[in-house]
């Protein structure tokens, strides 16, 4: 068997070298397709990250009546923290609310002067695990004893959430489409390579080579080309990340970049995709040549 592995490895690289143009075409095809796929994943990741950050800032404010009893408040507090959708709860007392108010309007002392420290309501500020559950949570809190009002950004927030959802859906679809396109492109290139060598395959069959013996070097080639293409595509993504990191210095508003972990994940995805497509593409392309 050791000898055969040697034969397969040698045959693979001899063929890669002899069909250099075909090899370059295949690697380039994989490279470009997977770069597009990786680029799309990157844009998706950046957008997703930004939306997540904004979504994380969506906050539900539960304003309390001044008349609320300590028992009611205790009950409310535990009701809120028992809800599975709730992530983080922060209690803002009347005094804290006034401090915050003073800080917000410190340039306008007249506004501050006319408000007594007692005028602003205490509130619970709720951050949700999933911002899309904001309506459900709100409806469960409205009308509870001691609750004056439940508030969030309203329509703006809802519209924003819708956009975020749409964005994610569109990107998933785009990535699926690109994945499909990459598959077809790569499979086609392999088919061309196999077609270019149909004579060789015919001779192999004629002298009694088994189908696996014919198939294996082609699969090795497909996998090798796909892997190399995936490495090159990842290099493109990594270069894009470095470029974005540079821009980040001047634009810190939202994190328009990805971390190293993402690049690794992209590499894994591209390599996996490429290798699977390369191997499958080779076998499928060979099938009609291997019929007895």
């Amino acid at each position: 068997m050791g000898l055969r592995v040697g034969y397969f490895a040698a045959e693979t690289f001899i063929n890669l070298k002899r069909n250099l143009l075909m090899t370059i075409a295949a690697i380039t095809t994989v490279w470009i397709s997977l770069s597009l796929l990786g680029g799309m994943m990157m844009i998706g990741e950046i957008g997703n990250h930004a939306f997540s950050k904004w979504e994380g800032q969506v906050e539900l404010s539960v304003f309390l009546r001044d008349s609320i009893t300590p028992d009611q408040q205790k009950e409310l507090a535990s009701a809120i923290s028992d809800m599975p959708e709730v992530g983080n709860v922060f209690f803002e007392s009347k005094a804290q609310a006034f401090e915050e108010y003073k800080r917000m309007f410190e340039d306008q002392p007249s506004l501050v002067q006319h408000v007594s420290p007692d005028a602003l309501p205490a509130s619970y500020r709720i951050k949700l695990k999933d911002p899309n559950s904001i309506d459900a949570v709100k409806s469960r809190l409205v009308g509870r004893p001691g609750v004056e009002e439940v508030n969030f950004g309203g329509d703006v927030v809802k519209r924003f959430l819708k956009v975020a959802k749409l964005f994610r859906t569109i990107f998933l679809v785009l990535i699926a489409v690109l994945l499909g396109a990459a598959t077809i492109l790569i499979a086609n290139t392999i088919r061309l390579a196999v077609y270019a060598r149909r004579k060789e395959i015919g001779i192999m069959k004629l002298v009694g080579a088994t189908n696996w013996f014919i198939r294996v070097p082609f699969i090795f080639e497909g996998v090798f080309e796909a892997a190399l293409g995936a490495v090159l595509a990842t290099a493109v993504i990594f270069a894009a990340k470095l470029g974005l990191d540079q821009l980040q210095l001047t634009n810190a508003l939202i994190p328009v970049t990805v971390d190293g972990g993402f690049v690794l994940r992209v590499f894994g995805t591209l390599l996996g995709t490429g290798v699977v497509i390369g191997a499958l593409g080779s076998s499928v392309a060979l099938r009609r040549f291997l019929e007895v």
Binding site: I203, V207, G208, A209, T210, N211, V292
Partner: protein, 229 residues
């Protein structure tokens, strides 16, 4: 070595390419298969290689009914049958030695066997001085010698030759014929389809003549055409 029993091959929506063909070819025999184009010579060859299955009848190669052969065993059948074609079918990106070695490599023969057999067989076909040339640097006759070397390097008991001299001039054809006779004398059964009257007439071997899918003549020490045919 090869036996056909009432073999018919009918392609879908077409007349019979072979009908009720029976023949028995002995070990170490040399048989010419003659007849006009479309008479069924190629189908005959293809059935022996199990590139196709007969519609009816049985075919035995080396005592085995090849219709019963599962697909995965077909490569092993073909290792027993060398093939030579009119168009040489050489790989232009490999040298002469590599073309011949290829036939052994792809059936998984160990390297020391390849190193020993390839020069041996190239010596037999008289191409020892061309081992590192590529096919396009050779004459037609030389290319056919390479093709023959590739067909017999694995020492198959049967050699099928489909119009091996179809592209060659008469003098070169005689050389190829002499080579095939030498291979035959070393114990290989040869079935050769041909249009070459002169060669058949001169060789005086067994002749099987096909016409419209039927055997119309099977004659020991025959000539190409009998009287009016």
């Amino acid at each position: 070595m090869i036996r056909l029993e009432n073999v018919s091959k009918i392609y879908k929506g077409s007349v019979a390419a072979l009908s009720e063909v029976s023949a028995d070819i002995q070990k170490e025999e040399f048989v010419f298969l003659v007849g006009p184009s479309g008479s069924g010579k190629s189908t005959f060859m293809r059935l022996l290689l199990k590139e196709e299955d007969p519609t009816e009848g049985r075919i035995y190669v080396a005592g085995k009914d090849i219709a019963q052969l599962p697909n995965w065993r077909v490569p092993y059948l073909r290792r027993n049958i060398g093939c030579v074609f009119q168009d040489f079918s050489l790989l232009s990106n490999k040298t002469v030695a590599e073309n011949v070695a290829f036939a052994l490599e792809v059936i998984g023969r160990p390297r020391h066997v390849i190193h020993q057999r390839v020069p041996e067989i190239l010596d037999l076909v008289g191409l020892s001085d061309k081992i590192n040339n590529r096919p396009d640097e050779l004459s037609g006759g030389e290319q056919q010698r390479v093709s023959i070397a590739r067909a017999v390097v694995n020492r198959p008991p049967v050699l099928l030759a489909d119009e091996p001299t179809g592209n060659l001039d008469p003098a070169t054809s005689s050389d190829i014929m002499a080579l095939l006779e030498r291979i035959n004398q070393s114990g290989t059964t040869i079935v050769m389809a041909t249009h070459d009257h002169a060669m058949v007439d001169q060789a005086r071997k067994r002749v099987i003549e096909l016409e419209a899918g039927k055997i119309v003549r099977d004659q020991a020490r025959g000539v190409y055409g009998m009287g009016g045919t």
